[in-house]
């Protein structure tokens, strides 16, 4: 029998990871819960003054999204590393970057996409300008995959370390900063009624750049970590 085609292998691994996520629902809810809790804490801490909250809403939402993404990063490869399935993945006849992309896609569907669904509710709570809702969703849609993709490189580099948590944050956070700057700025501009095409173009560029390059880097980093 011939081995699966590349796209079949991609979908197979994607489905497997989604199934595993479904069977560990508590882990699945973790980043989402964190995202919601952090954002609800802000009005309590800085006071419920509508103008102030509306002003800082883009920043709050994006910083929370960034931290929520960081929180869940380790899960991309951790369990596979520990039970040896990652080893088997590297020994597969399929190109490793494609398998990596499948895993990162599954991770984003499980941790990034839910943020997209609750973000409008939280934006409403913070009193964000209504004109900015669409742009908020668009930045999350474009930005969170970038976070997962960049994060996967960091996780792959630190997976072999026993206490890689701090190094992972130091490695990954600086690379997250451009996404944070451009997305918060886009939402700000949209709330002020300005054009956001420049910011969105930049974010799209980030997405395509990381989509094409990060799986290759992650695969190479995994090979290094496993040896």
């Amino acid at each position: 029998m011939k081995r699966l085609s590349l796209s079949q292998a991609f979908w197979f691994l994607l489905r497997r990871d989604l199934l595993l996520a479904l069977r560990n629902r508590s882990e699945l809810a973790n980043p989402l819960l964190f995202f919601v809790l952090v954002i609800t804490l802000f009005p309590l801490a800085v006071g419920a003054e509508p103008n102030l909250l509306a002003r800082i809403a883009p920043g709050i939402i994006w910083v929370a999204a960034l931290l929520a993404s960081m929180l869940s990063l380790d899960a991309i490869f951790r369990s596979d590393f520990e039970d040896g399935t990652l080893e088997q993945m590297l020994l597969s006849a399929h190109p490793v970057p494609v398998l990596v992309l499948a895993k990162v896609t599954a991770h984003w569907l499980v941790t990034g996409l839910p943020l997209l669904l609750v973000a409008p509710l939280l934006a409403m709570m913070l009193g964000l300008d209504e004109d900015a809702y669409g742009i908020l969703l668009l930045t999350i849609l474009l930005g969170t995959p970038v976070l997962s993709l960049i994060g996967s490189i960091g996780v792959a580099l630190t997976i072999g370390l026993r206490k890689g948590g701090i190094i992972l944050s130091l490695l990954v956070l600086p690379l997250y900063v451009p996404v944070l700057i451009f997305s918060a700025s886009a939402i700000d501009a949209a709330a002020g009624g300005l054009s956001v095409s420049a910011q969105l173009s930049m974010m799209m560029a980030f997405l395509f750049l990381s989509l094409s390059l990060s799986p290759v880097a992650t695969a190479a980093a995994l090979k290094m970590s496993m040896s």
């Binding site: 699966l4 292998a9 040896g84 080893e87 020994l91 190109p95 040896s227």
Partner: protein, 206 residues
């Protein structure tokens, strides 16, 4: 007969200790290499170098005369590696695990229930791996040998936590594989008796 798997001047250094130096091996169809040696003598390292997971300090591993780094996917299609870790997911059922194994390699045209039967796990197909015993998990890990078509089996202590009956069963399976022109490289602390096969022994402690 031409050699399938060869190593040329393989040297492995770990933490400034030389584990083995200038190792030259040659295995052809139907041969089994038993790697022996004390703990920490480099058995696992050698096996991982043969799979390409680790890189040697110097030297090369050749598959049909070509370095494995150049052969790429065609080599990985021919290799089945069973390491220290079972490489199966706790939260999947036995059947789901086997399907995953098949998806990652070159599937053997075999009914998966029959495959489970071959490793004495019939009726466990829909059980989650988390509920299996250590020996059952090991047998499921070894089931990858049955469900994929690979010529070279590389196994690190395949008999860990297996009972005597299972050990005999797998030895029989190994002999069959060798008789069909396969090649096996394995480490084991158990006494292996394969009278009908061409056994090559390598002791890394000497």
């Amino acid at each position: 007969m031409s050699a399938l798997l060869q190593t040329s001047d393989l040297t492995c250094v770990k933490d400034d200790r030389v584990l083995f130096e200038n190792l030259n091996l040659s295995l052809s169809e139907g041969q089994i290499l038993l790697v022996e040696g004390k703990n920490g003598s480099g058995k696992t390292s050698l096996l991982r170098i043969l799979t390409g997971l680790n890189l040697p300090e110097s030297g090369e591993v050749l598959w049909q005369g070509q370095p494995i780094s150049e052969v790429g996917p065609e080599y990985y299609e021919q290799v089945n590696y069973v390491g220290h870790h079972d490489g199966i997911k706790r939260d999947l059922t036995c059947l789901e695990n086997l399907r995953l194994v098949q998806a990652m390699g070159k599937p053997m045209p075999i009914d998966l229930d029959d495959a489970l039967d071959k490793v004495n796990l019939y009726r466990f197909g829909d059980n989650f791996v988390a509920t299996l015993s250590a020996g059952q998990k090991r047998r499921l890990a070894l089931a990858r040998l049955v469900v994929t078509e690979a010529k070279l089996w590389i196994m690190d202590e395949p008999f860990t936590s297996l009972d005597k009956a299972s050990m005999a069963m797998f030895q029989e399976m190994f002999e069959k594989h060798l008789a069909n022109g396969g090649v096996i490289v394995m480490t084991s602390h158990h006494d292996i008796e394969m009278k009908n096969s061409d056994v090559v022994r390598l002791n890394l402690s000497e």
